[in-house]
């Protein structure tokens, strides 16, 4: 019986389904539009000069090689530092800390740090490294990136270690192995793909970061291999060039944007393939 009430319920439902579908296609459309703008504005400038020449003064030919190497160096510094601190910290939270008050505090603050504004991390590193050492440097930039990456790795390590079945730990105990050996040789090994994924996600996160680098590595026009000197990074060059009034700088900024976005998305996709999220529902 199609009463007025039934019609109204069906109508409202149809509107709701349509709304949800439209919102989904809006989100997908935005992704397509952004990627399209990137390709349209940047693909034309993507040539061999980008990978062989350093950032030019306005009006001259040039590339982005110093920014690319700078980004790689600082991301490497950041990742090494983040792994050295993040994996043990995550291990402590999962295996030793348990539900103790101290573990809860660390866990909570780590989660806050995970989403804290990255520009404040830049300010912090400026205060503790740049100011005392009297200079912007790749080391300071790497330290800032490490602080962005550490919470990601800590949280992910804790999560994957907790997923390991307790029978693994018990088997280590049954063999008379000290707990530290069990963790290093059994638990870490069983969780290795999860930890690797965490590393990739952290790398994807920091390779696109600009804000923490503005006051730490500052940027540089020339190729620089000295870790104690200001160093260019791809996102920072994009920012500087895009905000400039020069057309050729803006073109290079779009090329840089393609490179960074491509690298981040590729890393994310590789990470997702490793996880291979099971198809739910």
């Amino acid at each position: 019986m199609a009463s007025a009430l039934a019609l109204r319920r069906k109508g409202a439902n149809a509107v709701f389904v349509a709304f949800c579908a439209v919102m989904t296609f809006l989100a997908l459309g935005l992704l397509v539009m952004i990627l399209y703008s990137l390709l349209k504005n940047g693909l034309g400038g993507l040539d061999s000069k980008v990978f062989t020449m350093t950032t030019p003064p306005p009006g001259e030919a040039g590339g982005l090689i110093n920014a690319i190497t700078g980004s790689l160096i600082m991301c490497a510094i950041g990742m090494v530092a983040a792994i050295v601190i993040g994996i043990p910290a995550g291990t402590w939270l999962a295996e030793y800390g348990g539900d103790s008050l101290y573990a809860k505090v660390v866990r909570f603050l780590n989660d806050v740090l995970l989403s804290a504004p990255s520009i404040l991390i830049g300010l912090f590193v400026y205060e503790i490294m740049v100011k005392p050492l009297h200079g912007f440097s790749a080391i300071a930039g790497g330290a800032a990136l490490a602080l962005v990456a550490v919470p990601v790795i800590t949280r992910a390590t804790e999560d994957v270690l907790k997923l390991q079945p307790s029978s693994l730990r018990e088997s280590g105990v049954a063999l008379g192995t000290p707990l530290s050996t069990t963790i290093r040789n059994i638990i870490w090994r069983a969780a290795s793909s999860g930890i690797a994924t965490a590393g990739l996600l952290a790398f994807a996160r920091i390779s696109g970061e600009t804000a923490p680098l503005l006051f730490t590595s500052l940027g540089d026009q020339f190729q620089n291999w000295n870790l104690m000197k200001p160093t260019a990074a791809l996102p920072q060059v994009i920012y500087q060039f895009a905000m400039s009034p020069y057309d050729d700088w803006r073109r290079l900024a779009w090329v840089g944007a393609i490179l960074v976005t491509g690298a981040v998305l590729a890393t994310q996709i590789i990470a997702r393939i490793i996880i291979r999220e099971p198809d739910r529902q």
């Binding site: 409202a12 439902n13 709701f16 389904v17 949800c20 439209v22 919102m23 989904t24 989100a27 935005l30 992704l31 952004i34 703008s37 990137l38 504005n41 601190i85 043990p88 910290a89 402590w92 573990a103 660390v106 603050l109 780590n110 989660d111 806050v112 740090l113 989403s115 804290a116 504004p117 520009i119 404040l120 300010l123 912090f124 400026y126 205060e127 503790i128 602080l147 919470p151 990601v152 992910a156 000290p178 707990l179 530290s180 290093r184 994807a204 696109g208 600009t210 804000a211 920012y239 895009a242 905000m243 900024a253 779009w254 944007a257 976005t261 981040v264 998305l265 994310q268 997702r272 739910r280």
Partner: protein
């Protein structure tokens, strides 16, 4: 005669210990966790020390004064503080319905085969770097917005009407409204992913019983699923808000960077993060520098509270 315990039975419970190395490993892990704690404390302490001269010089006026003048060395942070709150809340207003629509579509309505691909594609939005959003906003979205929304609205609005007041401003597309839209696109994937996770966590029986009662999808979602995930969903919203508050690069590109209180939706403004990004390396005096760090501390406190609430509400849900 006394009975002593047999010496070869160990009364210790737990894994055997191998003295030094085992303890050393534990200590290493513990110090790494403590280093994290120290880092966060360090951020607060260094911001407080750096910002102290500004707080001391201006007192409460730092929070109520809109004058931000490096020439006369008078700094009031009200403009950037209000700009931060307004853009973050506006962006939430745009992102919340979209994220809900997306997550519900993915969990309830979309054909099975395309669920995972669409979810992955929307997650890619989270991978696009902030600075690229900024460029896209400045070079693509702002001109489009100025030509197709701002100008027609300015033509249509009667001078003096409410619409005119809300939409007055230089029609170049760089204003707090467009900045909020870009922010909304950036926080959308995070919120949608958590909502989807939450909707998937609703027990099947609950969903089935709603449909078994004859509920339409709308009724099942609105009256059964949403109430079930309400607490964590609020947490997800707070997490999105926290991200929007601290987002720097994209906003710096498109907000117009003026320290006045925004007079309309289409007026240029600034946020705390954009002000710091723009001025920190070019700070003209010790007081200017200190005022910027003081603003940083204010931002940290706001996000700390918002993110803290989010974490408490979300519990142990994975969100990185």
């Amino acid at each position: 005669m006394t009975i002593s315990a047999a010496p070869f039975i160990s009364t210790a419970i737990g894994p055997p210990r191998r003295g030094g190395l085992d303890q050393l490993f534990k200590m290493l892990c513990f110090s790494a966790a403590t280093a994290l704690l120290a880092a966060l404390t360090g951020v607060i302490v260094s911001l407080a020390i750096g910002g102290w001269p500004a707080f001391k010089a201006f007192g409460w006026r730092f929070f109520t004064n809109t004058t931000w003048n490096p020439v006369t060395d008078v700094f009031g942070g009200l403009g950037p503080i209000v700009g931060t709150l307004v853009t973050a809340c506006l962006s939430l207003l745009f992102a919340l319905p979209t994220a809900f629509g997306v997550s519900i579509f993915l969990v309830e309505f979309a054909p099975r085969a395309i669920r995972q691909p669409i979810a992955t594609a929307i997650q890619l939005l989270a991978g696009i770097p902030s600075v690229v959003y900024g460029m896209w906003g400045l070079f693509v979205f702002a001109p489009f917005f100025a030509a197709h929304v701002q100008l027609p609205l300015a033509m249509a609005a009667t001078p003096g009407s409410l619409l005119d007041k809300l939409t007055s401003g230089v029609p170049n597309g760089a204003n707090i409204f467009t900045a909020s839209i870009i922010l909304a696109i950036m926080i959308l994937p995070y919120m949608a992913a958590i909502f989807r996770e939450l909707l998937l966590s609703v027990p099947t029986q609950l969903r089935e019983s709603a449909y078994g009662m004859g509920a339409t999808s709308l009724e099942a979602v609105w009256k059964v699923l949403l109430p079930f995930i309400r607490r964590s969903a609020v947490g997800a919203v707070m997490l999105g808000l926290g991200r929007a508050l601290g987002e720097t690069m994209a906003v710096t590109f498109i907000i117009g960077n003026s320290h006045e209180l925004p007079k309309s939706l289409f007026d240029s403004g600034s946020t705390i993060a954009s002000t710091i990004a723009n001025e920190f390396t070019e700070a003209t005096s010790a007081m200017h520098y200190s005022a910027l760090i003081a603003l940083g501390l204010v931002l940290f406190m706001i996000t700390f509270v918002v993110l803290g609430i989010a974490r408490v509400l979300l519990g142990a849900l994975k969100t990185y």
